[in-house]
Subunit: 406 residues, 4 copies
């Protein structure tokens, strides 16, 4: 293991990754560079500096990546109306490629020959970190301590801390929680604990970002979202950068009990797992994006997007953000978004996101054609007969040859 000289670690400042710093120094006898990012997880990142220093780290990267995260990762993903397995908005998945990219870039800057992360060997995140790293720096060495070490229980971990004088209060920057959690501007997730029984309802006290629908205001909230090329650029007419848009929607969504999700999902590594998610802003975004597309997208573009979406979602979930096939799909999706401009009006009420209006200068909705009233010749109803008869021709030929179409 002596061949690793320097490793860049995705460092949260928490207990686990602090242990990893020490373990890497000891096990590999190498220098550790820490990288801590503010992705909107709702905790200060600056305290990580002192902790890293206390662990003897000399090169410390602490970065605010919130705008990049939302603008270049979250928003492109939402252009595809991306949902994994019909429900999950991919809040954890979409943050990983950005972290992988920064790990690799920092490795290049600091001359490190390895990267490391604190994800376990059972989950999707290890895959996402490592596929990203390999795609961007093919010769990189990846160290995943959870797959290597024998600190397989909380007790062993605490013993290691004591033995190596890692301050226990490193663990205290998170509220105590029986759940394994992850957060960024798109969502907060919960796994483990009582959730491991899929028949057990999640406890109310678990949720952190949203009130329950019951506890939400009795008065509905209306908002207008302005879209440009498929991305929200303004709320109620006020322009904001991408991360402030999402932040605003998280707050207003959370207040209205929006965005809770409780599912059993299929992990890429082959097992099913129960997860609970709060995605207030994302839930609003998805609904609004479909609404703006409903008046501005051509039918066949929209249908093609719907057919490609599950594949795109799978790629993001599985960790293939940095892959040629994701780029191909993104090219097709982005091609469709040039006209996804306009305003969507939403009513938020106790968990509900209700579309109540949409308008656009790029609207393809043409009341003069669709109207039940006289359309002044905009549409010739007689055209429908030929349309139907030729679409039916193959079915009629089949039936006349004795094919049972029923």
């Amino acid at each position: 293991m002596s061949d690793v000289r320097k490793v860049v670690l995705a460092y949260s400042g928490g207990l686990d990754t602090s242990v990893i710093v020490k373990w890497l120094q000891e096990t590999y006898g190498c220098e550790v560079v820490t990288f801590t990012a503010d992705l909107g997880q709702g905790e200060e990142v600056e305290p990580a500096r002192a902790k890293a220093q206390a662990l003897g780290v000399k090169e410390i990267y602490i970065e605010d990546l919130r705008e990049t995260f939302v603008r270049d990762y979250v928003f492109p993903m939402f252009r595809a109306n991306t949902v994994y397995e019909g429900e999950y908005l991919l809040g954890t998945s979409i943050a990983r490629p950005l972290i992988a990219r920064r790990l690799v870039e920092i490795a290049n800057e600091t001359g490190a020959d390895a990267i490391a992360h604190g994800a376990t060997g059972k989950g999707n995140d290890q895959v996402r970190f490592e596929l990203g790293a390999y795609a961007l720096k093919p010769g990189v060495r990846v160290i995943a301590p959870w797959r290597e070490w024998d600190l397989t229980s909380r007790e062993k971990l605490m013993a290691y801390c004591e033995q190596h004088e890692i301050p226990v209060d490193f663990a205290q920057n998170k509220k105590k929680s029986p759940y394994s959690m992850d957060a960024n501007l798109l969502h907060i997730s919960y796994e483990g604990g009582v959730l491991e029984d899929p028949w057990t309802e999640a406890e109310e006290e678990m949720w952190r970002w949203s009130v329950s629908p019951e506890a939400a205001p009795d008065q509905a909230t209306y908002i207008d979202l302005t879209f440009e090329k498929g991305d929200v650029v303004a709320i109620d007419g006020r322009s904001m950068p991408a991360h402030e848009i999402l932040s605003y929607l998280n707050r207003i969504g959370g207040e209205n009990g929006i965005g809770r999700l409780d599912i059993v999902e299929n992990r890429y590594v082959g097992m099913k797992s129960r997860g609970c998610y709060e995605t207030p802003g994302g839930t609003i975004l998805l609904r609004a994006h479909r609404a703006i597309e409903s008046i501005t997208l051509d039918r066949e573009s929209a249908h093609l997007k719907d057919e490609l979406m599950p594949r795109y979602a799978e790629l993001v979930y599985n960790g293939y953000w940095w892959s040629p096939e994701r780029h191909m799909l993104q090219a097709a999706i982005d091609q469709s978004q040039t006209t996804a401009n306009g305003v969507v009006r939403l009513k938020l009420y106790k968990g509900n996101v209700i579309v109540v209006g949409r308008q656009s200068e790029d609207s393809l909705f043409d009341a003069s054609i669709a109207t039940f009233e006289d359309d002044a010749g905009a549409y010739d109803q007689k055209d429908a007969e030929g349309f139907i008869r030729l679409n039916a021709l193959r079915l009629r030929i089949g039936a006349s040859r004795g094919r049972a179409n029923d």
Copy 2:
């Protein structure tokens, strides 16, 4: 037009189709057979008999098709988690193939050489009726009066009634409504009127089947749905036939403000149209079905279903229920449902359908593998390294050849 001797008409008993009876008799000089079906639209169908008789109809078919409708059409469609354009549950679409089938069967029984319907030349329903009819009886003649006659305004229609002594009270069995409406056990739909401006919010008084989330009870309702092969067969442990299941879910869903939808959709005939829908039971069904699948379906089966679904939805929407390609997709879908058995527990509250539990003897969820605790060797974390490295191999080779994966 003298070559039509007898025509079977989809007859609602309302004013429009009563005019059609008379118009067919006059224009084609033919006998008219009426067919009126109870699909759960919530109105008595028996009154149609006297009206038809008054119009001189001798062969009158009045049928309760509710069970067939839900069991053989609605439920098979829900096995696919079918949603059109991300939102619409296809309530109108799925009723048409059954009506088309009965029209054709009655034509065969009565020796009729034509069928007729009251759908306009602008909508999807004409296509669905006629594709179905042609697929099942390729030589059938189809008469679509709205595409042929000149009764293009309400005034002309009323004048025709007066002239032909069609009792005006034929119009009175429906509540007056400014909307074009359609209902069956799966949903009720609204089009036209103020909805023709997609920026205008639907009025509260429009909705008929559900209370608003605001008006729903402050207390949540819990229900358990039991699935067998992908279909709900019992509610709270009580077995019911398919149509009673849906009827029960409509009632309980409507009481809890569930299932309202307001969208702009793409019609098969090429235009966009605004529609509002109430689908209380269907909205519950969809959520519950995904939940039972989440623990009982293999990952790749589920993903394949998700990729095929938009195509399947398009087929149903466009009227290709009676087509070989729909049968192909149904064969694949049904193949996946043999293990979709178990119970889903839902919480219904002010418009929200919240999955709170799922259990099944066919569950593939294995807490002993997924657990964050010690798994006693059920899963070897070291396997993940090889898994990731080989999945990354093509990306690494590409990157090492200078491909920019970012």
Copy 3:
């Protein structure tokens, strides 16, 4: 019909379209603009000028579009490895959007309010011309004489000629043929006549562009094709513009008995039809393009292309070249072609196109990894175990729950 003042006609100079000129002048009392294009059909286009003049046409467009045709239509289509129904290389289909575009552009230049073409009401070409025209000039009037007039037999057509003094020798610029034919640089097609019985073998004398495999040289021909971004740019190291590339391949392919095809295909208008095609250059191109992709494309890019291709082919066949969904797919496909560079060596022999070598500076083929010999650690065989075990995990869980995977 008096509202049409000027119409642009796709004019071949042959008898049928000459009749159409006269018929349009008479029936619509309008001015006719003729448009004749050299797409490589192998006949002089200049003679069309005198004929059009003789028919009283004042605005005559005669254009050599061969380079545009191959560069902007044929080559982009081949980037997708496009094949319709597993066999057909879309030679007729791909020429139509270019003609539609020029008809519309000429209509705009000349102030014409209508376009006209000589395609029948049974075929795909009417659809392709008209969808293209409507997509590019939505208010255009389209006149399709074959769907309107009563000149439904050869006799009536000849009578019309005599009556209107259209010189009979207009018919003589084509060799007499019992087949309906169409040709351009990509192919020549044959329909009708004895081909209407799909059990009857095509006669040897029907084929015009290629010798039979039997008559081809006993000596094989080798050629090297150089690709840049998915397009062939040089043959045997000699750079040529796109149309000369295809022309060269047609000649050398035809000499070697390559590119004959005899199929029954499904028309967009709903019927099956028998067609025979000679596509010597295209057949070579397709094989070579797949070969260059085989060493330069990432696996998942290639597989995604394969999954999208049938949809793309259907769009081209059905006439949706000028549609947003085709542009979406093209964006994805073109994204994949940046690395499709290199040289493919082919052996042409009596109908066979045999790939015998491929090389590229962008090759992803890595003999040091794939080798059966010692790979010096480039690939760790132990990785395969984890790869297999995690890919198998869902199957194992299923089987252990009693699922019969067989």
Copy 4:
């Protein structure tokens, strides 16, 4: 390693798997059961008995699986027109699931707790064997000696033979070849040696099953293939079981220089590899199957099959034959084949498979509709106008809103 008591080995009787027998006995101290199958590889399997006995094996399975192989694996795959990456007919891939199944069944019969195979750690076959085994017997132990041992060169292997007195003539039942080869009734494959340079043309002497097109007869051969439900059941009117059909086609195809293929393919384990294949019968089958489908399949069924095929091919190639998703696709495919009945006439000539006729009582080809002659009203050309106009409507609306469709 003492926990393995008995292992079933896929035993060819050759040198490599003979070494494996000994190595398993030594390394695992376990009993070895050998399984040798005749899949039509063209070598006697019975000699494997004496060799196994000489190695001390007590339970020896030698089976003729040719009919099962073709009937239950090859033919179902061909119903899908399965081709991997546009070229490869999956000859090796399709044999693996059958072998995996028999290994597992024999393990169950003999009370073995493990299976073993002689595939290397770089190839696809290990994946196919092991995914199959895990899917059918989830708790099975798999031993892949090539991933475990240190006999990584031919020299070490020969030394092991000498040391363990494995007769060297075990190696002599194959003709000496510089290639890694695999054969069964569907094909014979070649990898390695000079093929590791994709620019090098394969040597003529490499090919074993077919003559070169140059060496094939100057006279064409005609054959008629009779299909029932998508499978060939008779040749020239003579009924034969599945494996005799394929055997016959291999012979006649090989004689006519048909079925050679030279490609670079993408392995599931992540690398590209060069392979040469001879698939004479399969090449004929594929062409003929498409031809019978061309007249008997509904257009949309055929197109749906074409869109699903690449996925199906990928599943087979990657080793997921025994998976729920393959069964789903098979259900859809088989649903389409009930009408794939009839006769296809082929001309075989120097590498070419030329379809010259097809006929069927289930034909959907209707000359009376498709004809260029008078169709007596079977098709109303005026229908085309409405068909086109409504299909164009969305494009026209888009264009009239300023969308550039070009």
